[in-house]
Symmetry: C2
Subunit: 388 residues, 2 copies
Amino acid sequence: MPEGFSFSAVASGIKKEALDLGLIYAEKPVQGAGVFTSNLVKAAPVLLAQGLLAKRNAFRAILVNSGCANACTGEEGLNDAQEISSYLAQKLNCLPEEILPASTGVIGERLPKEKIIEAIPPLIEGLSPDKYQDFAKAIMTTDAFPKIASRQIEISGEKINILGIAKGAGMIAPNMATMLAFLLTDTSLAQDKIYKILKDTVDKTFNRITVDGDTSTNDTVYLLASGYKKKIEDRNIDSFKKALYEVCYELASFIVKDGEGATKLVKIKIINAENENRAVKIAQTVANSLLVKTAFFGEDPNWGRFLAAMGRAGINFDPNKVDIYINEIKIVENGLGTGKESENRAHLEMKKPNFVVTIDLKQGRAEAQYLTCDLSYDYVKINAEYRT
Amino acid sequence: MPEGFSFSAVASGIKKEALDLGLIYAEKPVQGAGVFTSNLVKAAPVLLAQGLLAKRNAFRAILVNSGCANACTGEEGLNDAQEISSYLAQKLNCLPEEILPASTGVIGERLPKEKIIEAIPPLIEGLSPDKYQDFAKAIMTTDAFPKIASRQIEISGEKINILGIAKGAGMIAPNMATMLAFLLTDTSLAQDKIYKILKDTVDKTFNRITVDGDTSTNDTVYLLASGYKKKIEDRNIDSFKKALYEVCYELASFIVKDGEGATKLVKIKIINAENENRAVKIAQTVANSLLVKTAFFGEDPNWGRFLAAMGRAGINFDPNKVDIYINEIKIVENGLGTGKESENRAHLEMKKPNFVVTIDLKQGRAEAQYLTCDLSYDYVKINAEYRT
């Protein structure tokens, strides 16, 4: 576990299903960076955090609540988030600006400020380096399981730790919401690189998953680096990036696996594309197609749907050159089906809980992948329930 | 009914559910125009028709088959379509180039050419001006009902008829597929205007509906003008355009109403936008959001989902100015919820089979609308069934 951090979690009664306040605390100021939702409609904690990160790069704590997104709450919502940070800062003996907020839950309702403030003293009392699992549970909403991933790498004889904790099960869940991830490490990074490293990693992991194609108002990924271990030098940066990617990729897979109602985790892999952006765009369109996702649920290698989704991605390619595989089974060669026998074999592959759809464009050398899940009855059930 | 056309339909045994060959025949060459799928992957009949329409503007017949899309079938698929047209032309005593093809059904399978050719003689024998309903039934796939709309307008004392027949229930249905529409009129139009009139009308009607956001490889709209009545002069063109729009809008609503598994027909209306394109983009994103569509199914005025979908449309607007209505009930004012009481009233409006979501951006004077439906268990059921 990365040194320099403690965790805590309490139930303040905002929601019944789980604990609902989580705190990550750093003993001394630590480096921080954040990547946020691209949605034009941004929740109050996102707006507050973006303001903080624009001005400073040292932080002491992350406070997360589940049950209420504090989104579409206007000026009052911003004030609520600020008041809670001020109270926490006073109790932690730090500046309000050193606290990064995150919220997930219903949009359009005010935070239960008093309840949260009441819960802060026991939250602080409970701080401990071992309580990261409690924290992971506290931030869950419709999540079926807590999401934790970690890596240890050795650089110049020193062991460096990365811990990641995430929540998310639908881009915006019914009552609850959002994808949040908290990445902690005990090294430090060049200040001018930390944001870029985080952003690049998020773009290749959390930004390449889909459950329902919707983007939350609250999506947030924070990276805190405590600096207990030696700073990462430029020549070792790739080892660090690789480990951070692995942690993020694992958390991203957990989110899709836990997709609302999902029964399959499917990797859409585009190979031999002209460039990476085009590969991403095609992968994304296939990954979000309702007809593709229902075909996954039906375990049907209905490749016409894959090609039809690719064709509306807005990217030029030659349909008559495309090969498509389900795991190792080739079901399309040069744009034509390879026959019933291979479809039957592909159908068997699709009975597995995880499989890969590989699409070969034969255009160039770039590739990209996207993680998605199937669309089941339960997705509709979870999301169609009336909120009250 | 427009003069100069006859219809016929027969079952050739391609599919069991309905008749599966439909023919529209014109006694003498008639003006024709077509608008096709924007999907890069285009079915053989679409490629064939695009080639014909690029070279000529007079036609004698439209031949439609349901059960097989003849898409992703390569050179052989094109040859199949051409051979069928040649045989039909010989029997009708016209040129193969005077026949416009359309197909809907499974992607990736060859047309049962012999069966279709065998069915052509009885198809021709059956031709009659009264059989348009049989034709409408023959082209159905997962459609629950045949889709027919018509208008009669009077121009300079002469009665002009427009008849529209369509099929479609999902953009690409499970086994079956596609949106097809056939528009017939007994007037004629300036040759340099006919395509533009059709294209503009399609853009505002069939291109502003969604069931699942997928675009078929086979989507086709044909307009044939027999010229039995006086030609439409420029000063009367708006009356004709209005009537054509109404026919297309009515057919488009039927398609959404018949959306696979749909229980609600919802109009998303964006008002006071900066320009029409931006209004369309926002309406489209809201209309396609799974979370919005499941909220419709759940009759839940979950306006946070509407705002969140708008926010990812890639269009700039001020979330703090937005008002949202369900029918006449205002549920959002200046980006904030108007309270539980109005939500409860909106919930009652959403129990109706049709309702309107109006979104006021307060940016400018442009507006646009999009028709969508809810996402139900049955959509998943219909689309997740294994094809065999």
